[in-house]
């Protein structure tokens, strides 16, 4: 096993991608993601890979399309405004059934927004990462270790289901350093061959075509329905979530990514006070972990969603439990990171059967980041 090292989330993710067999990276710098691209620019030439800073995010995602069509493991990374620019290319990749890993180190939006941590791109990532009937698989790491660990899984699932996969991080996870044990490099000879790839065949097999254009509506519909079957399978077998303190939980707090770190502090304090609070942390956002949410709803009295947004994932909790229980919301947005003490208050209010949906004006004294 490799030793524990101290790394920024952005760097750990980049190194783990290389170890997962990614030898091609196309990107464009943007805060708070830049260390990821910078790391790739240093390492890729040394391992015989490609690092290319494109002229724009639109160019970068289309280079990813091309590399993926040629059958290699390829990645791009950006932050919120840059990810919006990539949306068209992602939709084309969905329509062409091309795998790739796309990183969004989220910052505040809309528009240029700000550069501080945010989770305001949840809807974009899980609902419409481009036009058309499509999805991407979305992972939400919560530690630097997970930034590293989820990358290989993202590449594997992308290849298995022939779909783009997004890792939805944020500025806090990208910029912070924590100890991390980097994953062992994958043995690339064990990866399944991509028989669909347009990688040259010298007349030895029928020609492969990769395209998202179907002018015949019947054909287009059947391609979408075929993909939909894969989505149903993904929703059935690929849900991931972490549960804590769920045995006697009356209120279940749901949070992902960096927000789950704040919630963990708050839930630990609540438990020290003897409060019956449980904690569910979705690791996949699409597929949303409906199975654990529904199981929790059988015993709990209420849910509380905590996000760095004005409330987006809260919709998925409500859908999962068909609104059979109250689902409260507490959040901050625009780059403001909630204080664990504020979350603790929201937990207590939920325990006393209050229902609320709240984004308070910033009251606290001070804070870092």
């Amino acid at each position: 096993m490799s030793e524990k090292v101290l790394m920024k989330g952005n760097e750990a993710l980049a190194e783990a991608a290389i170890r997962a067999g990614c030898k091609h990276f196309f990107g464009y710098p943007i805060t708070p993601q830049t260390e990821l691209a910078a790391y790739m620019s240093k390492r890729m030439p040394k391992i015989g890979g490609t690092y290319l800073q494109a002229e724009s995010e639109v160019a970068a995602i289309n280079m990813v399309y091309g590399a993926s069509a040629a059958g290699v493991r390829v990645m791009t990374s950006s932050s919120s405004p840059g990810v919006s620019l990539k949306a068209e290319g992602v939709s084309y990749m969905i329509g062409s059934d091309l795998p790739a890993v796309i990183i969004n180190v989220q910052r505040g939006g809309p528009g240029l927004g700000g550069i501080q941590p945010s989770q305001a791109d949840y809807w974009q990532a899980t609902r419409a990462m481009g036009h058309g009937d499509g999805h991407v698989i979305v992972f939400a790491p919560a530690t630097v270790q997970e930034m590293a660990d989820l990358v290989a899984r993202a590449f594997d699932l992308g290849d298995r289901y022939r779909t783009p996969v997004m890792i939805l991080a944020d500025g806090l996870l990208g910029q912070m350093m924590e100890p991390v044990v980097l994953p062992e490099p994958v043995d690339e000879s064990n990866l399944a061959p991509k028989e669909w790839a347009t990688s040259g065949h010298k007349g030895l097999r029928p020609r492969n075509t990769i395209s998202s254009l179907f002018l015949d509506p019947q054909q287009l519909e059947s391609s979408i329905l075929e993909r939909r079957k894969r989505y149903e399978l993904i929703q059935e077998v690929e849900q991931m979530a972490q549960e804590e303190y769920m045995d006697d939980a009356e209120v279940v707090v749901v949070a992902y990514g960096a927000a789950s770190r704040i919630v963990r502090s708050a839930v630990n304090k609540a438990r020290e006070e003897g409060l019956k609070v449980g904690f569910i942390r979705p690791i996949t956002l699409w597929p949303f972990p409906t199975q654990v949410i529904q199981a929790a709803a059988k015993k709990a009295q209420a849910f509380l969603s905590v996000e760095f947004s004005t409330g987006q994932m809260v919709d998925d909790i409500r859908l999962a439990i068909r609104d059979e229980l109250p689902v409260n919301f507490f959040g901050h947005t625009g780059g403001v990171v909630p204080d664990p003490d504020e979350v603790l208050v929201a937990i207590k209010r939920s325990l006393s059967q209050e229902t609320f949906y709240e984004i308070p004006y910033q009251k606290r004294l001070t804070g870092g980041a």
Partner: protein, 184 residues
Amino acid sequence: MANLEIMLAGFGGQGILFSGKLVAYSGLFDGRELSWLPSYGPEMRGGTANCSVCLSDEAIGSPLVINPDILVAMNMPSFDKFVEAVKPNGIIIVDSSIADACCMRKDVSFYRIPATQLAEENGLKGLANVIMVGKLLQLTEFSTLDSLDKAIEKSVSAKRAEMVGFNKKALRVGYEYVDQKECE
């Protein structure tokens, strides 16, 4: 050693993030859980650059320090910004050659060390930040000289290897410094 939430703050360019990195690395060598979170963005040019470091024996929840146990302030704006946020019974250390601060709070321990001046007197120009870490170690024993020496070896870039010795010396200057009198 208890769990610690530390806020280090100063001007961009004073090596605040580096100081935080030394504290973080010492945690790695001591086998503890830790997190290091910098402020980033336009704040780093002028104004205050700051850095949150958490050391704990359990998994770290929020890496963002809002109410620190310890504030290390290397300029006046940082002291002013964070002094009220420090937890009761917390510790505040200021570089008194830059920030001529007096602390009105009676519920915290307040220490002044002329780190920038000490750095110059000892031929360690630019290493006031490491002197501050030495003082922090002296006051709290959050780690050991040995772990911090290793942290210095890890954190100083290979291209500037000659700086390792100076950093270790600066650490000791701070570690051995006897307090300046409280301000009147």
